[in-house]
């Protein structure tokens, strides 16, 4: 596939015309066809695609695009703006009581990620809203669902209320709420069994749970990989329960996530949260603009920047910079940086947020374990060696000892020390540049002291370009 994302396709379709001066209606028509296929491949509901295309077409036929020197850019912008508009201009916050106990009811199809996200949400709201959460285990049907929630509760150190599988869910919820009041929890999250929206009996159960728990928020979890049926499912749940928000899970997959757009547009239910992995802190607030970029394949820079900001505090960064400049960067500092990067999430996940990289890294072999290996290697160094990297560089016996200690090959230790040395030299060079030098580099007039690209990894052929720091 020559073009992996829509914006590139549109650019290409309309770039073919450069030199002819003007875009004509037929050209716009071609671009619209690309947009249509691309949106369908992103699982946007076919009805929305139809309406969307006719709206975008009217806008694209406007004077601005037709006379523009960069019609591609113009059309991409129109598509992007319209997508954002369709998804609701800004993030909608979760409904919680200002005082008293807030209740959040989590519902959805089987396997959409309810139990995991009850845990993530509790963790998130405890951290960001300073609430004391209680989890209620009301899934008595799926084998071991309660165990799963209890295990998650233990991991997070959050209490789980459960009465086993022989008590009716309605009763469990009622007792759980009483318990929450008694023990002064101010946030209750109810995990329910997965069910088909067309299962009358089980839907009735939810209606009853809703009536007796009077939730502030009813969240529907939807798998981001859902196809055309997403709208049906959301609408059926909505008809019965008046869903107040949607939680889009498994967005760490390579799905484009058109379901988000479909649900928001057809049912008007706002998407409030997105799930980005199996770890308990991998939850984020939904941002329509970022989702629009994802559907277009344009990357998600803002999330990347936010993640980076969260993990790096400025003071530490300044100290690090000083060290780099003085050439005093040690293995301890290196270890510290690796830990920070790891805190930001998976490398691939992070890289996929950068525009232009998203589609390219799909086939890239990023070995997340490499961090662990490096940590093991540094862990096998003595204190002295960590603070004075030169000790290792020159000593064969030290390298052998580290190799033995870390369980990695001698070759690997050698590579790491070499890379580390080069890194130190480059850091010093970059840090030592004055402003005029920097400017030249940034304008591309002078080469950046390039990071050493190491030998490509063997095996599997393909152009993988193995990841290095």
């Amino acid at each position: 596939m020559p073009f992996e994302n829509l914006s590139e396709k549109i650019q290409y379709t309309l770039r073919k015309l450069t030199g002819r001066g003007k875009v004509n209606e037929k050209d716009i028509e071609d671009a619209m066809r690309e947009i249509r296929v691309s949106l369908l491949e992103a699982d946007v509901n076919y009805k929305i695609v139809k309406e969307f295309i006719s709206e975008v077409k009217v806008l694209a036929l406007g004077e601005k695009v037709m006379k523009s020197l960069t019609p591609g850019d113009q059309v991409v912008k129109i598509v992007y703006d319209e997508l954002v508009k369709l998804m609701g201009d800004e993030a909608v916050p979760i409904n919680l009581k200002k005082a008293g106990t807030s209740v959040v009811l989590v519902v959805g199809l089987q396997g959409s990620g309810k139990t995991t996200h009850v845990g993530k949400l509790a963790n998130y709201l405890r951290k960001n809203n300073k609430l004391k959460p209680l989890l209620i285990a009301a899934d008595i049907y799926r084998p071991a669902a309660i165990n799963q929630l209890v295990t998650i509760g233990k991991q997070l150190d959050i209490e789980v209320f459960q009465l086993g599988t022989s008590v009716k869910p309605q009763e469990i919820v009622k007792k759980g709420l009483e318990y929450a009041k008694e023990k002064s929890f101010n946030l209750v999250l109810i995990d329910t069994a997965g069910r088909l929206a067309i299962d009358e009996a089980l839907m009735q159960e939810l209606v009853e749970i809703k009536a007796l728990s009077n939730p502030d928020e009813i969240l529907l979890t939807v798998d981001a990989m859902t196809g055309q049926d997403a709208v049906n499912v959301a609408q059926t749940f909505h008809d019965k329960l008046n869903i107040t928000g949607c939680l889009l899970t498994k967005l760490d997959s390579d799905t484009r996530g058109g379901a988000a757009l479909s649900i928001r547009y057809m049912t008007k239910i706002p998407i409030k949260f997105i799930g980005l992995g199996e770890k308990m802190d991998e939850l984020d607030v939904f941002h329509p603009d970022r989702m629009a970029k994802r559907i277009l394949g344009m990357g998600d820079v803002l999330t990347f920047i936010e993640k980076a900001q969260e993990s790096f505090d400025e003071e530490v960064a300044m100290k690090m910079a000083e060290k780099m400049q003085a050439g005093r960067f040690t293995y301890n500092d290196f270890l510290d940086q690796i830990k920070r990067i790891k805190k930001m999430g998976s490398l691939k996940g992070l890289l996929s947020l950068i525009p232009g990289i998203g589609s390219k890294i799909r086939n890239l072999d990023i070995d997340e374990k490499r961090f662990t290996y490096i940590e093991a290697i540094i862990g096998s160094m003595t204190k002295e060696e960590r603070n004075n990297p030169d000790l290792i560089t020159k000593s064969h016996s030290r390298k052998s000892r580290i190799a033995n200690g870390s369980g990695r090959s001698y070759q690997e230790i050698n590579n790491l020390t070499k890379q580390f040395e080069q890194m130190r030299i480059q850091m010093k060079a970059v840090m030592g540049m004055d402003e005029s030098q920097m400017e030249k580099v940034s304008k591309g007039q002078a080469p950046m002291p390039a990071m050493q690209a190491s030998k490509p990894k063997k095996g599997k052929g393909k152009n993988k370009g193995g990841f290095r720091f």
Binding site: V37, L40, E41, A42, D43, Y46, K50, L109, Q110, G111, S112, G113, T115, Y141, R142, P143, A144, A145, I146, N147, Q148, L149, T151, I152, Q155, L196, A197, I198, D223, M225, T226, G227, Q228, D229, A230, N232, V233, T236, K250, D252, S253, D254, T255, R256, G258, A259, E278, S346, K348, R362, D365, I366, D367, E368, K369
Partner: protein
């Protein structure tokens, strides 16, 4: 329509009923839609083909597969000879059969060794129903008189081992659990040893759900596959990719990625009792040549059927005739 006869089954009525139950709940199936579309057009023109495209897309049949299908339909000699839109229906059905069969006789029976151990590996993304499907298959094969062993290879998700254990007890089959294990390959290895030593017929290996773009998890799966291949000749005899019927276009990416690390021998389509049609499996067959072996139609252990193309397409096409 000679092709149809290939798929005639004896217990057809019961099966049809199950599909219908699953599909009927939706009230508006593809057939209802198809008929409505066809009878809503006086002539065979671009408008009609556009509407047909929408109907295919709505069932989550892959975009590329759909567009190719419609293009081929337009070019079909039989279509060129007719003027009444309703006459298109049998041609469409016939072409869907061709799309799936590709001139082959597709065998969807499991590859079970006559003598010795057969190993099945179950793979898929999170939440598609791997564990439940294993329970259903264990139940079915046990009924056929096989001696079954389960391997609790999902050492990652909280509660996953317990879930399989509950099922093992319900179905009445043995299970290998390694408490506190973090490397699934070691669980699989242990299960294989036990299965060989105690002469089990079939070993069913559960694995953790993994998104296909997670390199390390895919490597872990590759390792499990390697362990099985090393310990048992020609194993795994079946590597089954579980696809949730609600899955959209991402199903293609799933098939592609799992094929890279394992030798996928078939797809099991789960949750077909809902409103979703799971049409992406047709695209998976079309693009990657992977047959669909079974379909899941509910949460009970009996709710599993062998895939039957005629019934499935029939199911896609069932709708209110009004």
């Amino acid at each position: 329509m000679g092709l149809f006869n290939l798929f005639k089954k004896k217990q057809k009525n019961e099966l049809t009923r199950k599909y219908e139950l699953g599909m009927k709940k939706t009230r508006v199936g593809l057939m209802g839609k198809l008929k409505a579309i066809l009878s809503g057009h006086d002539q065979i023109d671009e408008d009609l083909f556009d509407d047909l495209t929408d109907a295919f897309i709505m069932a989550d049949i892959g975009v590329e597969t759909t567009l190719d299908f419609i293009d081929a339909l337009k070019e079909d000699e039989r279509v060129k000879g007719i003027t009444n839109a309703l006459e298109l229906q049998p041609i469409i059905v016939d072409k869907m059969f061709e799309l799936y069969l590709k001139g082959e006789i597709v065998n969807n029976n499991f590859n079970i060794q006559k003598d010795g151990l057969s190993v099945f590996l179950f793979v898929g993304v999170n939440g598609v129903g791997k564990t439940t499907t294993i329970a259903k298959i264990a139940y079915r094969l046990k009924k056929e008189g096989k001696k079954i062993l389960l391997a609790a290879g999902d050492t990652f998700r909280a509660g996953a081992v317990d879930q399989l254990e509950v099922w093992a007890n319900r179905v009445g089959v043995d299970i290998v659990i390694k408490k506190g294990a973090t490397d699934p390959s070691s669980v699989i290895f242990e299960a294989v040893q036990k299965a060989k030593k105690e002469h089990y017929d079939i070993l069913l290996c559960d694995t953790a759900g993994r998104l296909q773009n997670k390199v390390n998890l895919m490597k872990e799966l590759e390792k499990m596959n390697r362990v099985i291949a090393r310990e048992v000749e020609n194993a795994p005899h079946e590597t089954l990719l579980i696809i949730d019927a609600t899955t959209g276009q991402n199903g293609l990416s799933q098939a592609e990625a799992f094929m890279e690390v394992t030798n996928i021998t078939g797809v099991i389509l789960t949750k077909l009792d809902g409103t979703s049609k799971g049409g992406i499996v047709l695209a998976i067959r079309d693009k990657y040549n992977i047959p669909i072996k079974m379909i899941g139609l509910g949460e009970k252990m009996e709710d599993l059927e062998y895939f039957d193309l005629e019934e499935y397409i029939g199911g896609l096409f069932i709708g209110d005739d009004e």
